[in-house]
């Protein structure tokens, strides 16, 4: 059985940025990290591999620039068997539909039984890729998975999160693409042994010419900006001792909450 995990490297949440001429620019030394829900997706794939009596291969697929390679290596260190890195400047700022077409072309011949992905990325947050891909590859799908149960080689049962504390079990015929919600498991850390083994694991790099795709994207970016505030906020900044009396006064007299 072949399980694919879609992994994205994203800019760290604490990164500083500014908006120049309608475009966001991050500090060039910003850290990158693996998208949070993708970590849970990888862990779920490794758990499937470890608990199954079948032979399971876990393949990481990542579309992203060179600085995604640390995320790929982390996945291999944790136990994925090999990786596919789709790397081409032409793929830098694609919309969700275009990304899914690139992934389709790159991954189709692998004939994966299961594709797992994080439910949405922490940067752009389209929240669509795993499901778009299910349609392109004619797979069944489920989103917001909080538990999975593989039943033999044909079916997987998935507990889907719904709003406000509700859930629903869904049974999917394989092949299936499932998007994973954070909290489904406890992602592991890489072991020293894992890091040593990682160095021997293959990473296949694919460019746009390997993939052979003409994209004709319909959506385009007009501009980026800082969102407008909805409320008048009274700010307290600086040394806590310098504003504490004012703050208590505001809480007691303006908001009347203490």
């Amino acid at each position: 059985m072949k399980v694919c995990v879609l992994v994205k490297s994203v800019i760290d949440k604490d990164s500083r940025f500014e908006i120049k001429e309608g475009l966001v620019h991050f500090d060039s030394y910003s850290d990158r990290t693996t998208n949070e829900s993708d970590n849970y997706a990888l862990e779920e794939a490794l758990l499937i591999k470890e608990s199954s009596d079948q032979d399971v291969e876990v393949v990481v697929a990542c579309l992203g620039s060179e600085d995604s390679s640390q995320s790929i290596k982390d996945c291999l260190s944790k136990g994925a068997d090999r990786a596919i890195h789709i790397l081409d400047e032409k793929f830098n700022s694609l919309d969700a539909l275009s990304i899914s077409k690139v992934l389709k072309n790159a991954l189709e011949e692998e004939k994966f039984d299961i594709i797992l992905s994080g439910l949405q990325s922490d940067d752009i947050g389209n929240g669509q890729i795993g499901i778009l891909l299910s349609e392109h590859l004619n797979m069944s799908h489920a989103s917001l998975a909080m538990e999975t149960e593989l039943n033999g080689a044909e079916k997987i049962r998935v507990k889907r999160e719904l709003e406000a504390g509700w859930f629903q079990w869904t049974t999917l015929s394989l092949p299936a693409s499932i998007t994973i919600q954070s909290g489904i498991n406890k992602p592991r850390y890489a072991s020293l042994r894992g890091i040593m083994m990682m160095k021997k694991k293959p990473i296949k790099v694919l460019s746009s010419s390997d993939i052979g795709i003409e994209l004709n994207q319909a959506t385009s970016l007009l501009e980026q900006s800082i969102p407008k505030k909805e409320k008048e906020t009274k700010f307290f900044d600086g040394e806590a001792d310098s504003f504490m009396d004012d703050l208590i006064n505001s809480m007691a007299n303006d908001l009347k909450v203490i």
Binding site: K13, F17, I19, V24, A96, L97, S100, D122, D123, G125, N126, G127, Q128, I129, I131, L132, E135, H141, A142, S143, L144, L162, E163, A164, G165, W166, F167, Q168, W169, T170, T171, L172, S173, S182, K186, A218, T219, S220, L221, L222, E223, Q224, S225, P227, K228, K229, E230, K231, E232, T233, F235, F236, D237, A240, M244, L247, M251, D254, L255, V257
Partner: protein, 320 residues
């Protein structure tokens, strides 16, 4: 311009987020024709009371309860025959589950989780990226564009009413596809706290850093007389039980005071607490989206501020 709004509805109970999407379309400055489309017969009468042109009720037994493959097939056919310019959804968990598939099937873009749509020569879609820190304006050159509206971006009670909508019932053919089958919905054990009825909540976010630091926030809560709530990661890590999670997957609360410590204010969190009468946020990042909705914003390190705030509140309470 021709627009459709999908109304998610069960036994006559219309999803609020669908109405917010309808409101967003109604407010477009060059108002398009509007068709509200639903699978739920019991919502037709309510829908016909809105200021729209048409209610389209699609009929097929396979649409009675949620199935993504049946839903995609039904709406695919409608989009192909009617070719609307805009096809809008509320950004519900259900829409998240099936609308991308519709987009791939028809090869038309789906701009998800929009906070605003407006018309200036062209339709402009605004969505937030980087967890709410940056707003992004997009356009689409596609004949049809699918969009979804983020919960809370428009007000369902501002949907315009009217009386000229025509009602159309249409049978659709759907080939049953058994690859996805759903069981009944259920709610996990409810837990013991009643956050929905708590007047004061101190809510803990990932900024608390580790489990051992939780008591710092608990002492603050005690000083105020508040219950403890939390954001999702803190529950995911197992530091706080699930029944204290605030947000779209957890509780929706509207206390007199919501004091958020180390919470960034992602939309899925805001959905759960935006209705609070007063919001105080402590965060070291002055750009954190939580400050967009806060009455009082304290910019700084929670480990420096909370102990001092706790002491000051105790002192204040002793005096008064």
């Amino acid at each position: 311009m021709k627009s459709f709004v999908f109304i998610q509805s069960e036994a006559g109970v219309i999803n609020k987020n669908s109405l917010e999407a309808l409101c967003g379309i109604q407010k477009l400055s060059s108002r398009p024709s509007i068709t509200a489309i639903t699978f739920d017969e019991q919502s037709v009468e309510t829908l016909s009371g809105y200021n729209i042109d048409r209610v389209l009720h699609l009929k097929n037994p396979l649409l009675q309860s949620y199935n993504p493959l049946a839903y995609v097939e039904a709406i695919q056919k409608i989009i192909q025959t009617e070719q609307p310019n805009l096809f809008a959804f509320g950004h519900t968990y259900e829409a998240r589950d099936w609308v991308p598939r519709l987009s791939a099937r028809l090869d038309i873009p789906f701009i998800s989780d929009c906070t605003k749509i407006r018309f200036e020569n062209n339709t402009i879609f605004t969505r937030h990226i980087y967890q709410g820190k940056i707003a992004c304006d997009l356009t689409s050159s596609s004949e049809t564009t699918i969009l979804s509206i983020q919960s809370g971006s428009y007000r369902s009670d501002e949907v315009d009413s009217g009386s000229s909508a025509t009602v159309e019932n249409q049978e659709v053919d759907i080939v049953e596809d058994k690859r996805i089958s759903q069981e009944d919905k259920f709610q996990e054990s409810k837990g013991t706290v009643d956050l929905a009825n708590s007047d004061l909540i101190v809510s803990i976010g990932r900024g608390i850093e580790k489990e051992e630091n939780i008591p710092i926030a608990e002492e603050l809560a005690q000083a105020i007389g508040a219950e403890i709530g939390s954001s999702r990661p803190v529950v995911d890590y197992g530091w706080v039980p699930h029944d204290r999670q605030i947000g779209s997957s957890g509780h929706i609360v509207s206390p007199k005071l919501y004091l958020a410590v180390g919470i960034s204010g992602a939309v899925q969190h805001q959905v759960g607490m935006k209705g609070s009468e007063a919001i105080i946020a402590i965060n070291k990042d002055k750009n954190a989206p939580i400050f967009e909705i806060a009455d009082i914003g304290i910019v700084g390190d929670i480990f420096e501020i909370i102990p001092k705030l706790t002491a000051a509140i105790k002192e204040h309470k002793q005096k008064s």
